[in-house]
Subunit: 324 residues, 2 copies
Amino acid sequence: MEKIFVTGAAGFIGSNLVDRLLADGKSVVGWDNFVTGQKKFLAGALKNENFRLSEGDNLDLPALTKAMAGCDTVFHLAANADVRFGLNHTGKDLQQNTIATFHVLEAMRANGIKRIAFSSTGSVYGEAEKIPTPEDAPFPVQTSLYAASKLAGEGMIAAYCEGYQFEGYIFRFVSILGERYTHGHVFDFYQQLLEHPDRLKVLGDGTQRKSYLYVQDCVSAMLHVINLSTATKAKHGVEIYNLGCDEYVQVNNSIGYLCGALSLKPKLEYTGGARGWVGDNPFIFLDTKKIRATGWKPALTIEQGIHRTLQWLQQNQWVYETRK
Amino acid sequence: MEKIFVTGAAGFIGSNLVDRLLADGKSVVGWDNFVTGQKKFLAGALKNENFRLSEGDNLDLPALTKAMAGCDTVFHLAANADVRFGLNHTGKDLQQNTIATFHVLEAMRANGIKRIAFSSTGSVYGEAEKIPTPEDAPFPVQTSLYAASKLAGEGMIAAYCEGYQFEGYIFRFVSILGERYTHGHVFDFYQQLLEHPDRLKVLGDGTQRKSYLYVQDCVSAMLHVINLSTATKAKHGVEIYNLGCDEYVQVNNSIGYLCGALSLKPKLEYTGGARGWVGDNPFIFLDTKKIRATGWKPALTIEQGIHRTLQWLQQNQWVYETRK
C-alpha cells in the first residue's frame, strides 16, 4: 500500500488531506510539532489503523529522517503560515519555512524518497503586474518574508529535482478556507463579531481584492495532479501549479457575506490605505488555466466557501480559545 | 566620510571592490572569514589608513553586527560561489548564502544601516527560455542549490526593502574574470595546462555558451548604479540589474584564446553531453539593456578579459597552491 508522509498533519490543510488520503485507502504517517496544529483535527484519523501519528519538529532532522522511513511520497505542508507578522520575528519564516524545507528534502534523500508536494503561495508573485497571474509571470520582487521563505523552499525543491531526480509538485495557493480554518480574514472578522457584534475593525480600506479556495477543493486539486504524475514528464522534474478559483472578492464582500449570514450590521471601522499591513497585497488573483487544463475544477464558489467556514467556526468556537 | 562595509572583502571581487573604494576616497571595513579569501589580495588595502580589516564569519551574527557598526552601506559579496559542487554538500549553500544573507540583513537592521548591494547570479534564471535573459524574464525554475540559495537571498533583501525601507541593489552576475580570479573554467583549464600541456579535459562537449565580465567592469557597474541611487525611486525600494557583456563565447572559444596565448595545442578530451555537470547551464547570456541604459558599459571584451585573467594567473601561480 502506498505510504504517505504529511508534515503539518494536524494543521488546517494537513488534517483535511490526511482524512482524504485515509478515505482513499492510503497509509499515512502524520508529522506535526503541535505548535499550531490541533490534536482534535486528527480525532478521526487516529481511529484509523492506516494512520500513524509522529510528533516532532522539522528542525530536528534526525527525528524527521527516522519518522519518514518507509514512505513513498511526502506532502510538505508544515509552515509558519503567518504572513502578516513576519516583520515582528524576522527569523521565523527562515527557520520554519526555508530551513524546515531543506530538512524535509534531506530526510527524503536519506530515505530514498523522491516524490514531494509542497504548499507554496501566490504571495511569491509579490505585487504582480500581470493579473490574473500565471505560473510563468515575470520574475517577481518579494514583498514579505513569508513569501521570500516559500520562494526559497520552491528553489531548493527544484534543485533537488534537477540534482537528485526528485519528482516535485509545487502548489501556489491563494488563501484557503473551510473546515478547521484557524487564521486569516474570516477567522479574525468572526472573532471580532463574537466579541462586539456592533462594530468591526477592518485593516486597510476594505477594497483589497483577494482570492480564496475551499480546502476540500485544494486537497482534491493536489491529489488530482499527483495522480497524473505530470512532474515525471516535466523538463526539470518539477511542476508548478497555481491553485485558486477563477474569481476574487473584495474584503468588503467577505464582510457582507459574513454579516448577512449572521444578520449583523456592525459599524465598519477602516484603518485605511490600500494595504492592510506592510507586505499585504492589495490584489491577489491567480491564473488557474494550467490546473484547469488537467480536468480539475473547484466545487465551491468563494461565497459558498466563506459560508462553510463560518458554519464550522460557529460550531467550533474552541479554536479561538486555543489561540489565546 | 562615507563608510562602506564589504563582506567577502578578501575574495576575488570583494578585494577588487575594496581597492576601488579606497582609491575613490571612501572609508572601508573589510569583513572576511578567510576560508577562501586571501590576505594577499588585501596587501594594498592594508597599507591604507581608511581601511580596517575585521576577521569573522557571517554565521556569527553578534560579531558581524559589532563589526558593521558605524557603516553607511553594505556590499554583501561573501558567498559559497562554488556552483558545481552543491550536490556534494547540500547544506553549504543554505548556510553560507541564504542564512549568511539573513545575518547581514539583521546586522544592518540592528545598526540602522539601510543600503545594501548584493552579488546574485544569472544562474537564478535556471535554463532560461528567453535568451538574452532580461531581469523580468518568466518566473524561472531553479536547477542548482547555489542559484536557489542566491534567489533566497534576493527574496529576503527585497522583503527587507519593503518591510524596513531598505535600499537594495541586486546584481545578477555572469561569470566574472580578471585579476585575483580563483575559480572557474579559465582557472581550471590553465591549471590543467600547467600540469600537462599536451592534453586538456573538458567537462561537457565544449559547446556550452557562457558569458563573462571583467572584474573591473563589474565593480564599475555596481558603483555606477549605486551612485545613481535608483533603488530609492523604485516601487519596492529594490533595483535588480543584470551584469554582463553583450556577447557570449563557447567553452571551445575560451580554450582557443587560452591555448593561443600559451602557444599550446593540447589534445582535447571531452566528457561529453550538453552540460558540464548536473545543474550546469548550457547557455547563459543575460540581457544587459537595463544597466546599459544607465550609461555604464564594459571596457573589455570577453576575449580581452580572458587574456587579462591568464596574465594574472601566470604571474600568480601561488593561487593554485592555496587551493590544494
